[in-house]
Symmetry: none
Subunit: 217 residues, 4 copies
DNA sequence: TAATAATCGAGACGGTACGTCACGTCTTGGA
DNA sequence: TCCAAGACGTGACGTACCGTCTCGATTATTA
């Protein structure tokens, strides 16, 4: 999204005139937003509260972010570089997926849960944020799955017709479902089940060709 | 949940004193809520707008519903009786699942989409609504899957260890994921993929016993 | 002006539905506005401060008044009925004018001064308020002069061609001038001077006819 | 006032170090302020708008002027030298006063009106500006009247007891009154009326001595 | 020919108040 | 009892200007 992009650009080497953006304010805003979100919940996360806690004017927030959700998104993506290339590489598809999913499930069932629930809820009300969220955080998560599947294809663990995008849906879909709907726990057993289900689905080579024929019937 | 329950009770034959509840107002409120949600989106759905459009006082709304989301939920559950016993019975697991999923996906990609997106978003902010939504609509959807799987087990299409709950997660999880995140279309191809993935996962009998052993390693 | 008019009407016999306007809030708002104006000055008179001091919501203020100046105007005009028919009647033009001007000058050089200075200043920035101010307060003041002059004409103290409107300008103009510009005191001597000047101007019968001729030259 | 004074001094030959003040910026600022005031009104006259229109930084404005009103005042006083010694000298009191008032009234009823209305309004909110305005522009205007009256006294047209200050009040007071209150037009007829009223008031020799006696009664 | 000094544009900053929106509650009179 | 109308206190919204504060660049005088 434009706002967040500008923010990052303006903090990068800045050849332009005028007082430079305050890195201190930016940090205080992001920290305040996360603090309020984690402690008081998303309902309490509003611009006035963030500004007050960060000792910052509302205008400064609005100058760089379109809404509180964008601040949270930036807080999450700012951590990402450290996690980059984080696609685990254990040598086996099952190992990789478990290495990916178990920490994910663990984080979402504790402190990360409320954050993602809030951002997904916000996505339903704000199309501009939805796009930013989808193309940054969510896309990054899906990309990891795609990388894992690609390696498994090279190793011959799954056929080349295997649909990596479907795999990402089969992993993150149910996780999201349990996170948002709360009908069952996000626990280890669930992680194992998801991995198994995803692997057998990837190995099932019907996907491409045969399916098209069926649909045509 | 209490409010919605009262609503239904109060419409049933009830010998209480005073002026009876206006069925006309109830209908107008529900229709207005759905109209606003479908046309102007979740962000525009508020009590004030519903009251204005329904020609009803805000008080009347607050008397019978706890929030706009409960109105929408009532609109959906009021339609349910007509769809009840909707678990399709084609004679095969694949047929049943397709019969279930294809219309679901079709509805969600058109007029039902905004409605479910709104209710799930609301669930993240309101725990009381979340419970109502989960135990009514969502539970009903999952129950259909469970019935289909049970029949498949009786037919011997899938082992008795097959996890019907996981099957529901594998079906509705990815659907929800695409609905909420919008990274890919909710189309026919997706429905076929989901059905295939779910079936191979159900047939994979590792699920229960072996898994526990692995986790213990 | 519409806002102020409605306010008065709605406090009068009200045959309409809905919760009636709170006379208590109205009183608290007007009193708070006057208190702030008298103690902290016009610069400190803003809607937020009035609302806070009156224990009232901003919305309630905006519902009935277009700006703080209108509240002050209502405070002044609400006192007017008590002063109505206040055109003094001493039996002589000079007596009447003195009876009118001396208290005016005295009030403006003490507590009324800041109030009128504020309202006139506001009139320069807000055309809608300017009209309200002119047609209520200012018009009432001018009307008193007109009544005094009319009686003097009947008594034969001044010719019938005497211009009562000009008399009002000659009285209130210089008073306003000193009030706003502050180049000299608003004192008793000034009141006497104004009365004398106004009287001789009224007796000077050139006004109408001869002037037109001159202008045509 | 200090700011404005500095402004003028700093433009005069001054051997201070550093980059000299930009005459170009000063001109642009003054012109922009006048343009906004004349076209968009007093309410739209703010530093931000002036800076934007002049293509100048806000800092530059704040460095040389204390508020927008001072800029306007400087715009008017910068024109004054050209008008200096403007006390008309037609040989008769009436001629002089007409020569003075008619152009004044004409200017105020067209382009000068908004300007003076703004400055007088500002004077009510800012005591420091009020003093600057009173002792520069307003004092100059009053001085002209005093000079005219002095010549009339030498000619014997009015007694030596005639109060020139009162004359200035009788002229500028009503003009200001109509300008600010807008209850009647600033036209030729009004100019004639004012002149006549002022002359008869000046000729009425009661003013000083007798009045004191009356007041003591 | 530097060093010093003041100004300039640009533009971000902490503030204050604005006027609006929706909330959920509360009187009214009437059905 | 319920209903519509609609006023009420509350809290947050996003915006407009305020006056101040860096920046890098520019243009003078002084050493």
């Amino acid at each position: 999204m434009t706002h967040a992009d500008n923010a990052e650009k303006n903090l990068a080497p800045r050849p332009r005139a005028g007082r430079p953006r305050s890195a201190e304010s930016r940090r205080a805003i992001i920290q305040s937003a996360m603090h309020i979100l984690q402690n008081d919940g998303y309902a309490a996360l509003n611009i006035e509260a963030i500004a007050a806690r960060a000792g910052v004017s509302k205008q400064t927030i609005y100058r760089w972010w379109a809404s509180a959700a964008f601040i949270v998104l930036e807080a999450l993506t700012a951590d990402m570089p450290a996690q980059e290339g984080l696609a685990p590489d254990t040598g086996s598809l099952k190992g990789d997926l478990l290495e990916l999913i178990r920490p994910t499930v663990r984080a979402l069932s504790s402190r990360r849960g409320p954050v993602y629930r809030a951002l997904i809820a916000e996505s339903q009300a704000d199309a501009r944020f939805a796009e930013a969220f989808r193309t940054s955080l969510m896309a990054a998560h899906r990309e990891v799955v795609r990388a894992i599947v690609a390696r498994a294809q090279l190793r011959g663990e799954v056929p080349f017709e295997a649909d990596a995008d479907l795999a990402a849906d089969l992993i993150y879909g149910p996780i999201l479902y349990r996170l948002l709907n709360g009908h069952a726990a996000l626990d280890e057993t669930f992680a194992f089940d998801l991995v198994d289900a995803t692997i057998v689905a990837l190995r099932n080579r019907e996907s491409g060709v045969k399916r098209a024929a069926e649909a045509a019937e």
